[in-house]
């Protein structure tokens, strides 16, 4: 006869990508009940959006999740452009894709390093952050920022890139590609990693759909869904890339999806640089920099951010401020099922499961 025990973990945990609290009921080593509490970094971003001009919110959209700032710029600018019927030049579309894929690599590196260090593999933290630095340097060179890039403007991008920068990106991408392949070899060949992730946090295709997860998490359960293919935006309809998906549904499969995605991102970056159209990617003069007044109406738009589908619902009343901006990020969708996934698992696997879902708590809380 064993006695059940209640354990509270967080909100400040050494291995958490932001504050959230878990209430676990454990029976010896096994989790029998779990409950999650978020909201520790709620900043009222949606309310703030209603009191900023349309352009004034672009830098704030970065800060919804700084690990994925360019993709956040994209959903926001895309929503305004759809609402106001603004056309974006071809070069700007390609540059947006370039920046978004570089951001995806950054995000996946942060996840790779942090998560594997949670599993006790500290070298990966150093490797992940070392490689991420390569891309951060490229961003610094091309756009000026390192974390909150604000690459986008309504109707284009903030800055054009030069021939020298293109050469630099080609070179860096070369190094990065080799390393990603190496990491994949290391992980697929390591029995400790395999034992810690195979059949851990399992989610079948049906369960994944029932739990409403998105992005690499659902692709790890064999559902090949990706907004870049399903409802292409920017220049994705002109680029050739695959959507990796694995059938395992466990932490291992989700890892492999993300590693493959990094290779796909590199493929996309090369194509963008090869076929980069001529022209001026900055917004034309007739689009006002500060006072954009989209007509009355509403738009629902989506992008495939690094963590999955980011959905935005923007309502305009014809003024220069958004009337309502609803953001449903991928972490919000992927975090809610965590308690369900934890029940029946060992407490030692807690971070193997939570980490494989790749949270950005700031984005869930907004």
């Amino acid at each position: 006869m064993t006695k059940e025990m209640e354990i509270h973990i967080g909100p400040q945990g050494p291995q958490q990508p932001g504050p959230y609290q878990l209430f676990l009921t454990v029976d010896e080593e096994e989790i029998v009940d779990a409950e999650i509490d978020i909201g520790y970094v709620h900043k009222g971003v949606e309310k703030i959006a209603e009191n900023r001009t349309y352009t004034g919110f672009i830098p704030l959209s970065d800060r919804v999740c700084y690990v994925d700032s360019v993709n956040n710029n994209q959903f926001y600018c895309q929503a305004i452009e759809e609402l106001a019927g603004i056309e974006v030049s071809e070069r700007a579309k390609y540059l947006r894709v370039l920046f978004m894929e570089m951001q995806r690599l950054i995000s996946h590196y942060v996840w790779l390093g942090e998560w594997l260090s949670e599993l006790g593999w500290f070298s990966f933290l150093l490797w992940g952050f070392r490689d991420r630095e390569h891309i951060l340097k490229l961003f610094e060179e091309t756009i000026g920022g390192r974390l909150n890039m604000s690459t986008h403007r309504v109707g284009g991008v903030r800055k054009d890139i030069t021939e020298d920068m293109i050469q630099n990106i080609y070179e860096e991408v070369e190094t990065i590609e080799e390393r990603v392949k190496e990491y994949k070899d290391i992980l697929t060949d390591n029995s400790v990693f395999i034992n810690r992730t195979k059949d851990v946090g399992k989610m079948s295709e049906r369960e994944a759909k029932e739990l409403g997860v998105v992005g690499p998490v659902i692709r790890g359960s064999g559902v090949q869904t990706d907004i870049r293919k399903l409802d292409p935006y920017a220049a994705y309809d002109q680029l050739n890339f695959d959507v990796p998906s694995y059938k395992g549904g466990d932490a291992y499969a989700r890892t492999m999806v993300r590693l493959d995605e990094m290779l796909e991102s590199i493929k996309i970056i090369r194509q963008v640089l090869d076929d980069l159209p001529e022209g001026d990617p900055t917004p034309p003069d007739e689009i006002p920099l500060l006072n954009i007044n989209p007509p009355e109406g509403e738009v629902y738009t989506r992008v495939e951010a690094a963590r999955g589908e980011f959905r935005a619902y923007l309502v305009s009343d014809g003024s220069d401020q958004p009337y309502r901006l609803k953001m449903s990020g991928p972490t919000y969708s992927n975090m809610q099922p965590l308690p369900k996934l934890l029940v029946g698992e060992y407490i030692a696997d807690l971070y193997a499961i939570a980490g494989s879902l790749d949270f950005c708590v700031s984005e869930a809380d907004r």
């Binding site: 009222g44 009191n51 759909k209 029932e210 409403g212 869904t225 959905r311 309502r324 969708s333 099922p337």
Partner: protein, 143 residues
Amino acid sequence: MENKKTRELMDKLEEYSIEKDKEGKIKVDKNNLKNICKTAIENEFDRLSSLTAVDYKDYMEVVYHLGSYEHKEVLVVKVKVDKEDPKVPTVSDIWSYANWYEREVWEMFGIDFKDNSDLRKLLLPEEIDGNPLRKEYPIGGRE
């Protein structure tokens, strides 16, 4: 934009629609909401992509975006609610993950989701009164 599936579904939902447009938006009565969700699920719109509300000063609207993992079309279902006594039926028995969305709309707009037994604060601290995303809520917070 091609939206063949949405149109077919909208034809099936004709009897419930108070108002509809060509882009895939329908306005419905809250009492028909569950039937609409069930019909949508049977017709390839099996996913609740987003659930939110908008405060239009005189009234509020709860907005459901129904979609799918397999196709890109989205049906927008809107339910008008009274500002004094805002109530809609829950859909968390249909989609379990609607729970967080409903909790958020409940705390931010004060809209009650009937039969959702789990309406607790999600993002806000316990001690906050009022509903911050309502238009009358001051930007600096309450005194």
